[in-house]
């Protein structure tokens, strides 16, 4: 048994790593580079790392300053949210995680989601902002991961349907509808998100009457929604165009009206076609929320950056950025996995007998 396994491994190695001289040299080179990198990382992150101790201990060591993370992780994760109410964003995040696992199961994809999503959002918002018995926390105190989650989930949930409407509008036969939509999409796509955020926070107030003070967070949220809706619109349009025209004709010939045709025949097929680019856009949007730092909202990226300004802990930016990068990576990784799973489910449902 054991010998059999060895034999298999040797065989596998021969075939895949050392089939000929050129391949073998590449394999050896890659192995050396890989081991070297691993050694450097281990050295920095584990062997020479400082787990306990203050900043001066960190400066003397050559490895990672993990005590900086120990000191700052609460601030990076939650910003200046009042420490005595910290359980509220934590409960909110746990709710999102539970919902996420609920949502990834195909048997839960039904109309009740239309109710569950907004309900969860309102609970989350209520937890963060307080009221009805909870002491209120103003939203300029929100920060870190809860803020990132808020901006990105609300952004996705609102801009995706909006993008679908824009895509349908762009394909409309009525020029009165399609031209403005085309203008909107092209305009938004031609401008960086960062400039839209600036406009929303700096320029918009100039045009509004003085006494009308729209919340900064709200303006940023709207900017993100308007921005990504244009991207979703183009993704969805790709899906709409991939369908043969016969589908729409068959639906029309059966007497379905425009709305029924789109809802029951066209969109269910078109949206499935474009799952990978849709999730791609969602991931991009999730990371793009970090740009709200430019209008002084302290999302995850913002708190990481401002944690570096603590005078007693100067100079540990690598640690801070790797910490938030890991958090971003984990979330994006799950989004990517979710995309694959959704695709798999739809492929399965087509093939099942």
């Amino acid at each position: 048994m054991r010998r059999g396994l060895d034999h298999k491994l040797v065989h596998w190695g021969k075939r895949n790593l050392f089939p000929n001289i050129a391949q073998s040299m590449i394999s050896i080179l890659m192995l050396i580079i890989g081991c070297g990198l691993l050694y450097l990382i281990m050295n920095w992150f584990l062997i020479n790392a400082v787990w306990k101790g203050d900043s001066s201990a960190c400066r003397e060591a050559s490895g990672a300053c993990l005590s900086f993370i120990r000191e700052k992780y609460l601030y990076i994760l939650f910003g200046v949210y009042p420490r005595e109410h910290l359980w509220r964003p934590i409960v909110g995040l746990i709710l999102w995680i539970i919902f996420w696992f609920h949502f990834t199961k195909k048997k839960n994809w039904n109309k009740s989601l239309l109710l569950k999503f907004p309900t969860l959002f309102f609970i989350y918002y209520f937890l963060l902002s307080g009221g009805w018995g909870l002491s209120p926390v103003e939203n300029h105190l929100w920060g870190g991961l809860p803020l990132t989650i808020l901006l990105s989930t609300v952004g996705i949930l609102v801009s995706y349907p909006l993008g679908i409407l824009l895509a349908l509008g762009r394909r409309s036969k009525s020029k009165l509808l399609s031209y403005p939509v085309v203008c909107y999409i092209e305009l938004i796509r031609g401008v960086p998100l960062i400039s839209i955020l600036f406009m929303s926070s700096v320029m918009l107030p100039l045009f509004l009457p003085n006494d009308l003070n729209i919340d900064k967070l709200f303006r940023a949220q709207v900017a993100i929604i308007l921005f990504s809706a244009a991207y979703f619109a183009e993704v969805v349009r790709g899906g709409l165009q991939s369908l043969p025209p016969g589908q729409e004709e068959a639906a029309k010939a059966l007497g379905l009206n425009y709305l029924q045709t789109q809802m029951y025949v066209i969109l269910p097929q078109a949206l499935v076609q474009v799952i990978p680019p849709t999730v791609n856009t969602m991931i991009g949007m999730f990371k793009d929320t970090s740009l709200v730092i430019v209008i002084a909202l302290f999302d995850l990226m913002g708190t990481a950056k401002s944690s570096l300004t603590d005078a007693s802990w100067l100079g540990f930016s690598i640690e801070a950025y790797i910490f938030v990068a890991l958090i971003y990576f984990i979330i994006c990784f799950f989004m990517g996995r979710f995309s694959q799973q959704v695709e798999y489910e739809f492929k399965l449902s087509k093939e099942r007998s």
């Binding site: 043969p244 010939a253 269910p268 499935v272 099942r352």
Partner: protein
């Protein structure tokens, strides 16, 4: 039942339909044939306004299509259509393909729609496949499902747009059989087809089109045995 008057249609500069006049009575079986590009598919697609036209009128049971564009869906509900490429909805099962329109458009309950769908599926001899998806059945079966899907709406007239042209030869027969049965039950039918055997057996009238015009409109025996038009003669000599 269907009245086409002075119908003209252009694709940009190309004059596809030239001054078509046609009247079809209830219960009539009409076969439309002609060389490709003669406008025969375009003509029947005008009858449920899948194609827009620039001049003339099409009326279904006295209702002009152009006058009732707001409720064009109402007219289409009564005009069944079968396509060359079936156009089944691939994301729905066979049964769901059949029940979708009745439940959405006719407000029939799901159970009633299912019962009726199963009736029509057994009529086209395919009820055992009801829970499969379109990709899992053969072309001939798909076309029979497409016919059953149209029938579920209780149409007053059925339009067939080359229903057997995309099929493998061995599957043509099963589809034509279903269509023949339908004809025997007295359904008003307009078929664009090259199946001359079917035309001879089933049709009351055969219409020959060329270059966007109706060249001949004759009963089958006269059409095949005593064609009086040189272009029709040439066409027949090529296909028979």
């Amino acid at each position: 039942m269907i009245k086409v008057t002075k119908l003209n249609k252009w694709f940009d500069d190309f004059h596809v339909l030239k001054n078509i006049n046609l009247s079809i009575q209830k219960g009539e079986r009409v076969v439309v044939c002609g060389p490709s590009g003669s406008g025969k598919s375009t003509l029947i697609r005008c009858m449920n306004y899948l194609e827009e036209f620039q001049e003339g009128s099409v009326a279904i049971e006295g209702k002009s299509i152009l006058d009732s564009l707001e409720e064009i869906e109402k007219i289409r509900q009564d005009v069944g259509m079968v396509f060359q490429h079936f156009n089944l909805f691939p994301h729905l099962t066979i049964l769901e393909n059949l029940t979708l329109a009745p439940t959405l458009v006719r407000n029939i309950s799901k159970d009633d729609a299912k019962t009726k769908a199963m009736e029509y599926l057994s009529k086209v001899k395919i009820s055992s496949e009801a829970n499969k998806y379109p990709n899992q059945i053969s072309g001939g079966q798909k076309q029979r499902v497409a016919i059953a899907r149209s029938l579920c709406m209780n149409p007053k007239v059925m339009l067939f747009d080359e229903p057997t042209s995309a099929l493998d030869p061995e599957m043509v027969k099963e589809v034509l059989e279903v269509m023949t049965d339908l004809a025997k039950e007295g359904m008003t039918m307009i078929c664009v087809t090259h199946e001359m055997g079917f035309a001879r057996e089933v049709a009351d009238r055969i219409i020959f089109m060329d270059h966007g015009e109706i060249i001949a409109d004759l009963p089958p025996d006269q059409f095949f045995d005593r064609p009086d038009n040189p272009r029709l003669k040439e066409f027949l000599s090529q296909i028979l």
